[in-house]
């Protein structure tokens, strides 16, 4: 069990700056999710914590130790990869026990550890199979098993669910959450999927262009986004932005109502426009209107029957809206 500190971390390849003076303190047993668009440096950061990538400047501290120059195996970490990286020529048992055999543990001890991990992950009856004979979900379980048997202080996950289909992704997500509660270790998890970030994280770290944009609980990041980028990145569908005086006004689609169906709102404002798109999701509908130059999307409950091209009125509360400086795009 360990806390992880990143102090003034920099990374550059030749002249390209990948990570720029990054600072982050991760608490013991915390589930931290690094989220951001591709190319924001989140995977590079994870690989640097793992020791698979050199750091250009700064310190990485795991527990009380500066690990900048330690080999991956000496950092007390384990990593789960996006494409599982199971050795195709070895059975599941050998895959899981590979690191233990390299560390020259006694056979009985290896067997015990592998079986315990297999039991938690419900893959006990797959131990003799080869990776090619497993489904995507089973392969990901095996790769988590391989990480578990190392008893790491810190688990690193690099987009572990990206290759799974939507249904499996949901159930594996729940299992990873459960696993965190069972193992009580620090987890650093990289994803570009904001739903994974929102549901799994104790704290979310939103990154863009090698810089941390905001660190906070899922609710903080959702309710009080630090800048326009975070506001647009977290939440689905994306937050609406309207230029208003000298600022950007941000309103989440779920905070916008049809005028005739609106509850009483404090500080109510209204927008009217022509319906340009209607998407029916089942329990709710997304309605987009065009008003002047801006497109505004609202998420309304139930089935919406309005025709495209028709004029319609939306209302929202100014209290629920977010204001961002026009120049700096920071929250006001």
């Amino acid at each position: 069990m360990a806390k992880v500190s990143l102090k003034n971390i920099k990374k550059s390849y030749d002249d390209t700056q990948i990570l720029d003076d990054l600072n982050l303190d991760i608490k013991n047993k915390e589930f931290i999710v690094l989220v951001g668009p591709s190319g924001c440096g989140k995977s590079t950061l994870l690989r640097m914590i793992a020791g698979l990538e050199d750091i250009t400047a700064g310190d990485i501290i795991i527990g009380d130790k500066i690990v900048n120059h330690l080999e991956p195996k000496d950092r007390n970490i384990a990593m789960v990869f996006q494409n599982y990286a199971l050795y195709p020529h070895m059975s599941v048992f050998k895959n899981i026990s590979f690191g233990l055999r390299a560390a020259k543990l006694a056979k009985a001890q290896i067997k015990e550890k592998v079986e315990a991990a297999a039991k938690i992950l419900e893959i006990s009856d797959l131990l003799e199979r080869k990776p090619a004979q497993l489904s995507g979900g089973q392969r990901q379980r095996v790769s988590i098993g391989r990480a578990m048997v190392r008893n790491p202080e810190v688990f690193l996950f690099d987009e572990p669910l990206s290759n799974l289909d939507a249904k499996l992704r949901n159930s594996m997500r729940a299992e990873i959450k459960k696993l965190h509660q069972t193992l009580k270790t620090t987890i650093i998890y990289v994803t570009h999927d904001q739903i994974e970030a929102m549901t799994l994280a104790d704290r979310i770290v939103v990154m863009k262009d090698g810089k941390i944009q905001q660190v906070g609980t899922p609710l903080q990041v959702y309710k009080k986004p630090a800048n326009k980028f975070v506001a647009g990145f977290i939440g689905s569908p994306e937050m609406n932005f309207v230029e208003y005086a000298d600022k950007f006004l941000g309103i989440r689609p779920e905070d916008i109502y049809l005028k005739e169906a609106a509850p009483t709102l404090k500080n109510q404002k209204s927008i009217s426009g022509k319906i340009s798109a209607v998407e029916t999701l089942g329990p709710e509908s997304l309605i987009t209107i065009t008003s002047g130059n801006s497109h505004i999307t609202a998420k309304v409950p139930g089935l919406f029957k309005g025709k495209i091209g028709k004029n319609i009125d939306f209302v929202f509360s100014m209290t629920d809206s977010h204001s961002f400086d026009k120049k700096t795009e920071e929250r006001m």
């Binding site: 690989r47 793992a50 020791g51 698979l52 080999e71 991956p72 195996k73 970490i77 384990a78 990593m79 990869f81 996006q82 494409n83 599982y84 990286a85 199971l86 050795y87 195709p88 020529h89 590979f98 690191g99 390299a102 560390a103 080869k130 990776p131 090619a132 489904s135 995507g136 392969r139 391989r146 190392r150 290759n163």
Partner: protein, 273 residues
């Protein structure tokens, strides 16, 4: 439903059949000739009217053929093992590690492919003479211990091995050499088999260098030994054919044994499916 025999298929099969006949004829003739007496050699019958094993008996009892065969085995096996190990190691390093001069080294190695053996034998001879290894196993073996072609082949194959495998092994605590042996090599067995076949056959049939570097008949390899049946005024063709027939057996066996490994199937098994 498509017809089983289309015109395109018929054409392809005809061309393949012609190709096969052209390739097979000399080999069949070689086996056929090995069962004939000298005076029947130019009678083109596939099976002689009086087939004989006398050539085989003569070859095993009156010549050093067995010694030559052992020599050929020793040279081909040592060279093959060495090429497999070193070429895979160099190819892996050039493919998976970034260091200064990597490209220059790779191009330098590639450029050796453009120099023909005929040009190299003189420098090799001088080196062997200076090292005092003329007319020895070491002299026979040393030019083949590594090959530019093998480095190129292995580098290309290692490009198909995802870095995640190596990263996973690094986290599992293996050192770089263990990763090469235990993780990377098993993933390129098809390439290793192909390289093993090429190298073994190339050395089994090598003629020019063994001829130049050896002077005592005890150290001849099969091709050099067989050439000794060919004199200035006459050649003992039935003996050459018999020797060549025996010499071709191991190569046929090796191909049959290893060909099933030349399937690039295993490598993607552990990745997303």
């Amino acid at each position: 439903m498509k017809p089983i025999w289309s015109a395109k298929k018929a054409l392809i099969w005809t061309l393949l059949a012609i190709g096969a006949i052209i390739m097979m004829t000399p080999i069949i003739f070689m086996f056929s000739a090995s069962f004939k007496y000298n005076d029947q050699l130019y009678d083109l019958a596939l099976i002689s009217s009086e087939p004989t094993l006398s050539n085989y008996v003569y070859l095993s009892q009156n010549t050093q053929f067995l010694t030559w065969m052992v020599n050929s085995f020793i040279v081909a096996i040592i060279v093959t093992l060495s090429v497999l190990f070193f070429d895979a190691l160099i190819g892996y390093t050039l493919c998976k590690f970034r260091f200064k001069g990597r490209t220059v080294i790779f191009v330098a190695i590639l450029s050796t492919l453009m120099i023909p053996t005929e040009m190299l034998v003189i420098p090799w001879y001088i080196v062997a003479k200076d090292l005092g290894i003329l007319d020895s196993y070491l002299g026979l073996i040393f030019p083949g211990l590594m090959s530019g072609f093998g480095v190129f082949l292995m580098k290309q194959f290692f490009q198909g091995v995802p870095d995640e495998y190596l990263d996973a092994a690094r986290i599992d605590g293996l050192n770089e050499f263990q990763i090469f042996i235990e993780v990377a090599l098993p993933l390129v067995t098809p390439a290793l088999s192909a390289l093993a076949i090429f190298t073994f056959l190339g050395n089994w049939t090598a003629f020019l260098w063994p001829l130049i570097v050896t002077s005592s008949a005890d150290l001849y390899t099969i091709p050099v030994g067989l050439s000794s049946f060919s004199g200035e005024f006459q050649s003992e063709w039935q003996m050459i054919m018999t020797g060549a027939a025996v010499a071709s057996l191991p190569t046929i066996m090796i191909f049959l044994l290893l060909q099933r490994y030349i399937i690039r199937g295993v490598i993607l098994g552990g990745l997303k499916g």
